[in-house]
Symmetry: C2
Subunit: 160 residues, 2 copies
């Protein structure tokens, strides 16, 4: 698969110039996963971000009771990026990402990412801004989810 | 108040050089608020980020039932920054920030912020990285909160 053509479709990379993208590609590692493989495991330490260029994955979280549930399914047509939180803060993975089909990803670790944005600061600013926007969108969704679960809790308490 | 000395204490600005900080200060506006003034109003459109250099503020959210509750109180000794989500995505304010005492803030809008990071990309990368880390910390806290409220809901349902 042509990495340049695949990555041109990713919203995260839309404002990167072709030359900047070619330099970025030199730092990426291609990984192949079989159906059922864990690409990321919840709770593990991590410092690698992935983009999915072929296949589909389940995002799986564990409840406080230890039950696992699929909170999203993503496929390559959505041009998903995952693992960006641990890339930036080197903290634990907040969810498991499991290959639902055969998958191909491109990945980058914290060290290579930091070297790239130091060397190509314009591209670095573009990437960091879009990563900020993704995080903000997640926070706004999570704020709404928290309100809904809180409302359900209040209604359950009041109905008894 | 000396803005340079005040801002040197902010974690968000710790990796900015003195020269970069002096250029940033030229773009900041000082605002004074009386006790009870709303610095930010939940639901409003916004594109301004604030740092609190004197006084204390309440962060107030509205439940789905329209009840307001104080979810945090911040004072200048904590060197808080607020409004950074709307600065970046120009979307609605997710909480109200009300002056609990007389307050002094320094603020910057999206246009000035973008001009600054374009002109000083090294500083821009430092700022955007720290803003990313703040957002990630908020997401990780909110993930835990969501788990706790969800657990309480399940326990309430099962007890009846």
């Amino acid at each position: 698969m042509d990495h340049f053509e695949a990555l041109k479709k990713f919203p995260l990379l839309k404002d990167i110039t072709d030359d900047e993208l070619k330099e970025l590609i030199k730092l990426l590692t291609e990984n192949k996963f079989a159906k059922g493989d864990k690409i990321i495991t919840e709770g593990d330490e991590g410092n690698v971000m992935y983009v999915l260029i072929a296949g589909s994955v389940d995002i799986i979280k564990t409840t406080i009771y230890g039950e696992k549930f699929v909170c999203a399914t993503l496929d390559d047509s959505m041009h998903p990026v995952f693992g960006e939180m641990a890339l930036l803060d080197n903290d634990k993975r907040s969810a498991t990402v499991m290959a639902k089909t055969e998958c191909i990803t491109l990945s980058i670790d914290t060290k290579s990412f930091n070297e790239y944005i130091d060397k190509y600061p314009r591209a670095g600013i573009v990437l960091l801004k879009l990563m900020n926007l993704n995080l903000i969108r997640n926070i706004r969704v999570e704020n709404e989810n928290l309100k809904l679960v809180y409302q359900a809790l209040i209604e359950e308490i009041e109905s008894n």
